[in-house]
Symmetry: C2
Subunit: 342 residues, 2 copies
Amino acid sequence: TTNHRIALIPGDGIGNEVIPAARRVLDAVAARHGLGFTYETFDWSCERYLSQGAMMPEDGLDRLRGHDAILLGAVGYPGVPDHVSLWGLLIPIRRGFQQYVNLRPIRVFEGVPSPLRGAGPGDVDLVVVRENVEGEYGEIGGRLGRGLPEEMAVQEAVFTRKGVTRVLDYAFSLAERRGGRLTSATKSNGIVHTMPFWDELVAERAAAHPEVAWDQEHIDALAAKFVLDPQRFDVVVASNLFGDILSDLAAAVAGSIGIAPAANLNPERDFPSMFEPVHGSAPDIAGRGIANPLGAIWSAAMLLDHLGHPEAATRVTDAIATVLAKTPVRTPDLGGTATTED
Amino acid sequence: TTNHRIALIPGDGIGNEVIPAARRVLDAVAARHGLGFTYETFDWSCERYLSQGAMMPEDGLDRLRGHDAILLGAVGYPGVPDHVSLWGLLIPIRRGFQQYVNLRPIRVFEGVPSPLRGAGPGDVDLVVVRENVEGEYGEIGGRLGRGLPEEMAVQEAVFTRKGVTRVLDYAFSLAERRGGRLTSATKSNGIVHTMPFWDELVAERAAAHPEVAWDQEHIDALAAKFVLDPQRFDVVVASNLFGDILSDLAAAVAGSIGIAPAANLNPERDFPSMFEPVHGSAPDIAGRGIANPLGAIWSAAMLLDHLGHPEAATRVTDAIATVLAKTPVRTPDLGGTATTED
Ligand SMILES: CC(C)[C@H](C(=O)O)[C@@H](O)C(=O)O
Ligand SMILES: CC(C)[C@H](C(=O)O)[C@@H](O)C(=O)O
C-alpha cells in the first residue's frame, strides 16, 4: 500500500458535511486500489476565529507542510467579514504553498440539465486554469482621507513574468495533453498596463508550445461566449480575478455550483496542494445534512490524480457520472430529496 | 420644433452601417414628434489613426462640446491595437465629459429566444448601471524590468468617494423610479482595499434611499446567478470592470449582443452624453450590409429619452419589440437573412 497523509480542513457550515462524505469515498477507493490514507483533521474556521481570534494558529502552514495534500471544505460565517475568513486561511495557504494553479474542470453531466437550451451532456467539457497567487487580488493598496469628501481607495494589481509564465506553461501543457485548444482571457483594451503584459507573455509561451492552437478574448466577450457557445472552449487560462469569475460562470452553465471542484496546485510538489469544492459554506442550509457532496468528492478525485493515482481518480468521476445519469439520487440543489449521506 | 445638435461618430467597421440606420430612425421620429435634429458627422476612427496618426484631432472634445448628444458606432480595426483605438477616442470622451454612468438595459424580446431554457419574453428586464470613468480602468501603473526574468507590471485601481457615490445615487434613484430592487456587484472577499470601500459606500447610499430594497453579491456568484436566475435582477450597479463584464453577459443571456444599447451619461448635463451600441466594429462582417442596426437604434432611443423625449424613445423601443415579435425581419446574427437596410 502506498500511504498518503491527508490534512482535512472542513472549515465552516456545510464544509463539515461534505468533507466527511469525501473522506468516505477516499476510503472506499483506498480499499480497492491498494492505497492507504492517514487523516489529520484541523478545526480551523470562523468558529475558531470567533473563539480564539484567528482562523488558524500562527504556525498553521508548518503544521500542514508534512502532509501530501489538503482537502478543504469551505470557510465563511455570518458575522465574520469575508476578507477576514479568507485572508486568514484560504489565501495564505494558496500563497504560502505556492499553489499557483487553480484548476477548475467543468462538465455537463447526463442527468444534470444545463440551464442553456443548447448544451447537452458531453457538450461542455472545459477546464479553467486560474492564476492563483498574484494578479488582481493583493494586499498592496489602501485608503486616503478616511471619511472626507476626498476619500479614495487604491488597489494595486501585480503581474510578474515568472508568475504569469508558469501558469501559462501549465495551461499550454494541459491543452497539449488534452489534444485541445487554449483560450486566454484578457482585457488589454481597458486595463492597459497589466493585460497587454499578460497578452505578450501568452504570445511568448504560445511560441514555445507550437502544437497548441490558441486564441484570446476580452473577458466581457468571453463571459458572453460562455453562455452563447460554451462548447467551443477547452482550456481557458485566466488571471486570478478573471479565472474566479469564469469558473463560477462555467459551473452555472453546467447546471450546478454544487458539483464543481477545484484544485489549488503546486505543480513542482515543493508544498502540499489543496483541493476544495467551488461552493461556499452555505450557512442557509448548514446543519441540515442536505448539502451536495459531489463538489467535495470530485475535488477528492483531483487529489487522487495529483497523488499519482489517475485510475482511482477516474473511478470516482465515473461514479459521479453514473449516479447522476442512472439513479434518482440528488440533493435538493439539483431538485432532488436526497441527503448528503445518501 | 425643438432642435437638437447631434454629433455622429460612426467610427470603424459596421459602425458605418448602423449609425446611418439609427439616423433614419431619428429622422422618422423627428417628423412625428415635432423634433428637429442637426447632425455633424466626424470621421474619427482607426482609419484616421492610420492615415493621420491620431484617432481624433487634439481639439476633439472641444468640437463635440457644443452638441446636445453624441451617437457613436464602434471603434476598432485589425492592426490597430485596442488600447490605442479606445484610449484615443472612446475613453477620453467618457472621461473628458464626465460620463460617469454607463447605462445598459437588457430585455428578452419576444421573437429573440434567450439561450437559457428558463427565460421567456418579458422575464428578464434589467439595467446594468456601470461606473464609467474611474475604477479598474486607468492609466496609473507600468512596467519594471522589461524583458528581464524579474519583469513585472502593475496596475492601480482607484475608487473615489465622490466617483462611487454619484453613480450609486444614480442607481438607487433609478431603482426607485422603476419601483425595483438594487443589487451591488462586489468582490470584497478577494479585493481587499477598493471593494470593501465600495461596499461601505453602498451601505451609506442605501441608508439615504430607504425605499429601495437592495443586496450585494460577489462578482463570481453574480455572474453565475445571471445564468441560473436572471429574472431576479432589476438594477445592478457595478464598478467599471464588473459592469463591463455583467452587461455583456446579460446581453448574451437576452440572446443577442447585436441588440444591446448603452448610454454614457453625464447626468448633470454639463457635457454632452454619448450613446453607442454594445457591439464592436465587427471587421469580419463589415462592408456587407448585414450588421444588426437594433443596438444603434435602441441607443438612439436612449438619446431621445436623455434629451427629454421619453414618448419618442418609447415609440422606438416599441417599434423594435414589434419588428422582432411580429415580423420575420432579422439580420443574420439573429438567424435571419435581412440586411441592415431592411
Ligand atoms: C472596448 C472597451 C474598452 C470597452 C470597455 O470595456 O469599456 C467596451 O468593452 C465597452 O464595454 O464599451
Ligand atoms: C472566497 C474567495 C476569496 C475565493 C476567490 O475568489 O478566490 C472564492 O471565490 C474562490 O473562487 O475560491
